[in-house]
């Protein structure tokens, strides 16, 4: 799954004037996550894959938000901007893209229709 170019994002096959919902980031199969935190370390257990993941506070905040409710990339950027105030917009986008890439490859998150 490619998080950087979500499905339906401006492809030539789009019908002119058709209603398009913004893709959302979500936990696959509406799955739940278990997690524990110690200080600014968060460890997530993903029962669907059996994998265990370690994240920092900012990444964990986004994953927890997505596990509560699927969110668009724009919504995630907005959340990140609020928590990572010392970073530029470009750095925040890069942070999010790297996180989504990592989570996409491990099956922790996926892109779906909104």
């Amino acid at each position: 799954m490619n998080f950087l170019s979500p499905p339906g994002a401006g492809g030539s096959g789009d019908q002119p004037g058709a209603m398009r919902q913004e893709p959302v980031i979500r936990i696959p199969d509406n799955g739940r996550l278990l997690y524990r935190c110690w200080g600014d370390e968060y460890v997530f257990y993903h029962p669907a894959t059996g994998d265990t993941h370690l994240f920092d506070q900012a990444s964990a905040d986004l994953i927890l938000a997505v596990s509560a409710q699927p969110l668009s990339r724009a919504a995630l950027l907005k959340r990140l901007a609020a928590s990572l105030k010392s970073l530029t917009d470009q750095e925040i986008e890069q942070f999010l893209d790297e996180l989504l890439m990592k989570c996409g490859q491990s099956g922790l998150l996926e892109v779906g229709e909104g």
Binding site: L34, R36, W38, G39, E41, Y42, V43, Y45, P47, G50, T52, L54
Partner: protein
């Protein structure tokens, strides 16, 4: 084989008519010519033969490896971590790590210094209550560790030494009587340590973050993936209950001083 049992299991109770046994195992010669020519030995578990036969001289080692296999494969009421476990005053020190990390040598030295042995090979962490349950069987020592422990504690009782096994030269140290007598009493986790023996290195104890400790303990578990969410919750409880460290050493006397200090 009888010498192995006589020396190493001297303090264990023999049950003449068991109502229930977890595993039924046996050591026996294979069928055919290998009973007589370069004789071999087979390990059977509930009538099955999970391993290839080994030379007869390795029967004692095969017995210990087979028992480890039985527990690691079937005792899923525990999260099982590849670790030695010793205790002082019911507070357990878990020495986790892969073969060659020096955990059995450390474990043997600590036991020789009066620590209680819970296990040399596997930490059995109860999924129900988070306690560490004992399996105080003989401590497996390999290669140079045999000489190191014999020199460190000349009074320790060693079983027969077997050479040229898949793991090199292998021998076992008898568990102390007191550890055997406390064989059904669990201990609470207090310290989780990932040791690493490095020749001629200094002794260094370094704090390890709890998140990283959980990932490393999961990597060293036999059945973490089998237990699913129970495995994660059990491991998280172990991490909650424990101070977590990495430990590098080459000198046993210095290592023991560090763990004695940690236990106080």
């Amino acid at each position: 084989m009888s010498e192995h049992l006589r020396r190493l299991y001297k303090d264990f109770e023999l049950i003449s008519d068991p109502d229930f046994c977890d595993f039924h195992v046996a050591l026996m010669p294979p069928f055919g010519v290998r009973r007589y020519v370069r004789p071999q030995v087979n390990f059977s578990f509930d009538g099955e033969y999970p391993f290839k036969p080994l030379p007869y001289g390795q029967a004692g080692a095969l017995f210990e490896w087979g028992l480890n296999w039985c527990i690691a494969r079937h005792a899923n009421q525990y999260l099982i971590i590849h670790a030695a476990v010793v205790a002082k005053d019911s507070r357990a020190l878990v020495l986790a790590g892969t073969p060659g990390s020096g955990k059995s040598t450390l474990c043997a030295a600590l036991v020789c210094e009066g620590w209680r042995l819970l296990s040399d090979e596997m930490a059995l962490l109860s999924v129900d209550d988070g306690g560490l349950y004992p399996v105080p069987r003989p401590i497996s020592l390999k290669n140079r560790s045999l000489e190191v422990i014999s020199a460190f504690s000349p009074d320790s009782v060693m079983g027969p030494v077997v050479r040229d096994t898949a793991k090199g030269t292998v021998g076992h140290m008898r568990p102390p009587l007191q550890s055997v007598e406390l064989g059904e009493r669990p201990a609470r986790p207090a310290q989780l340590v990932f040791p690493r023996y490095k020749e001629r290195s200094g002794t260094k104890l370094t704090s390890l973050s709890k998140g990283r400790a959980l990932l490393r303990a999961a990597e060293n578990s036999f059945n973490y993936s089998v237990l699913g969410t129970h495995g994660f919750n059990s491991l998280a409880r172990l991490i909650d209950d424990s101070d977590c460290h990495e430990f590098q050493y080459s000198r046993l006397d210095e290592a023991i001083a560090v763990f004695t200090e940690l236990a106080t």
